[in-house]
Subunit: 356 residues, 2 copies
Amino acid sequence: MEATVAITEAKQKKGKPDPETLQFGKTFTDHMFTMEYEEGKGWIKPEIIPYAPVEIDPAAMVLHYSQSVFEGLKAYRSPDGEAVLFRPDENFKRLNRSNRRLSIPPVNEELLMEYLLQLLELEKDWIPDAEGTSLYIRPFIIATEPSLQVAPAKAYKLFIILSPVGSYYPEGIHPVSIMVEDHFTRAARGGTGTAKTGGNYSAGYNAQAKASGEGHAQVLWLDGVEKKYVEEVGSMNVFFKINGEVVTPELNDSILQGVTRKSVIELLQYWKVPVSERRISMEEVLTAYENGELEEAFGSGTAAVISPIGELTWKGTPMIINGRKTGEITKSLYQTLTGIQTGQEKDPFGWTRTIS
Amino acid sequence: MEATVAITEAKQKKGKPDPETLQFGKTFTDHMFTMEYEEGKGWIKPEIIPYAPVEIDPAAMVLHYSQSVFEGLKAYRSPDGEAVLFRPDENFKRLNRSNRRLSIPPVNEELLMEYLLQLLELEKDWIPDAEGTSLYIRPFIIATEPSLQVAPAKAYKLFIILSPVGSYYPEGIHPVSIMVEDHFTRAARGGTGTAKTGGNYSAGYNAQAKASGEGHAQVLWLDGVEKKYVEEVGSMNVFFKINGEVVTPELNDSILQGVTRKSVIELLQYWKVPVSERRISMEEVLTAYENGELEEAFGSGTAAVISPIGELTWKGTPMIINGRKTGEITKSLYQTLTGIQTGQEKDPFGWTRTIS
Ligand SMILES: Cc1ncc(COP(=O)(O)O)c(C=O)c1O
Ligand SMILES: Cc1ncc(COP(=O)(O)O)c(C=O)c1O
């Protein structure tokens, strides 16, 4: 991979959007980063160019066999106006893990970080500064070789696109209702669940529609084998506080290894709050609920950071958690994580990377 | 959907390729069919235009969440020069089943057939006539709305592209070696296995690479839950002849409902050969093998039509089937099916559709 990025500036700059009316993932900045992979040459042509539609062959393999991976992270505006990234190295590591699962050639993580920094340098005015807002960063790789053979492509394109996003909680953090999904499977043992690859997401649309139709915000996924064990919630990892201990499903080969999940665990350990990663069944969650020991529940992910769960419905029976109020640990995690991410709180872990 | 297709003819026509050197899915004809879906308007703008790269927004949802479906069928050249399609209605029905699983709006199957016929009318000279050759037809739908929200798109594009293909068996039909995959999963219960959607295919690349590395042509997939029951072989359905009876895994919610599979079953019933659709475990296959009752095995699919299996390796133990020779039933099925498909044999089932 070459270190020098060719930059073509956009002739016309777009106006910055009003953060109050921003919908997630619909507005993009003036520029994007692109790079190509050619067999025998590796990753070549790193470029920053105006954000615009690109040409793709109708036979490009990504359109047929979904050979693609992506990442999602955010840049926040610190109180003194700097751009702050949260554990971006973790995202690039995960990108390469996803690449391996999807038979996509690995990228040089350090160089990719350099490219991202150059792109952010150019687009830094796009990082909004209102409370709760950020610039969402979406690196992704697609198979571009025009071929209908069911086999890994010989050509790929990597993009980094940027999208300013409004607050996830414009009216303040509040608990949501979740439905446990008994029929549909997000990812199975031996499948692609640990990879951030498109197929895992569109596979969940039916279940999400069912949950929404019944008044729930998201779906809780169970394991694909026995439909007994808790896996994730929508596009978040999930935690339960049971009788003083915070429990989250252990990593296996179907759960996505969330960067927020990892940070929650490390923060709880730092706070000396008991936390364990282990298999947890819905039966155990229900029993804890019935015994009055299910004290808090929340999801963790880049989009919402922490999302308290106020109601969890399994087989038609709703469990109301903490009287539908945000729990203490949930609130502390949200405040501390968002504080560190936005540079408003001190970062004892070295998680943030500031771009001045 | 509108019945009138706007046709823009290619200014320059490509030369027809030599069928001897054709690689599958690398050469495309002069024109393609496209149609768009817009929320509130439905499927609009049916068009036949020159085959060429198209513009796509980098945020097009298909590139992020793989919301896409496809189909695959073939047009053959009959001895008197007509184009013959094999059960195309089955493909369009399956397209809509895939659409439902992927939350993509359904298409009007009759109209889509009309569009395909118009495209074939224009491209009929592209159907090769050498033995074993055909014109591969690839309808597919992709989510085009530019949005990073994890939700069904509000805009789609449907394409039909055409690719002349050489003979699958340039040296005559011959048995292949297959490896049973114990670790990776293609599709799980509650997953997307019955849909022809990209994610199922790239998910299998790792397993295919492992099998190829060990000298096998393809992978035999087991069920995603217990890893005990036979599902499919590569991109084919699978049949075993055990002690005079032909057995194929029954349809469940992870196996693709092959058009060739259905035709094999109907043909065997017509011939009064015992055939059953039921769950079949690898244990049962191995026991049959050890008892000398595993008489034949083959895969079925549009690409190869029938692919005899000469060796099946499970947990390191190879089973040699019928002395690595193509079995009698396997051969008859291949000859009759290809005979009907190419219009060389009489079609007592009304399976073929001739375009004059
Ligand atoms: C399926 C899934 N689980 C969990 C997460 C949470 O991961 P992270 O904390 O890295 O955002 C995500 C993505 O963000 C996800 O897509
Ligand atoms: C996974 C899979 N199984 C089986 C088949 C066979 O289906 P058909 O006979 O309709 O070609 C295909 C596709 O062709 C497939 O992709």
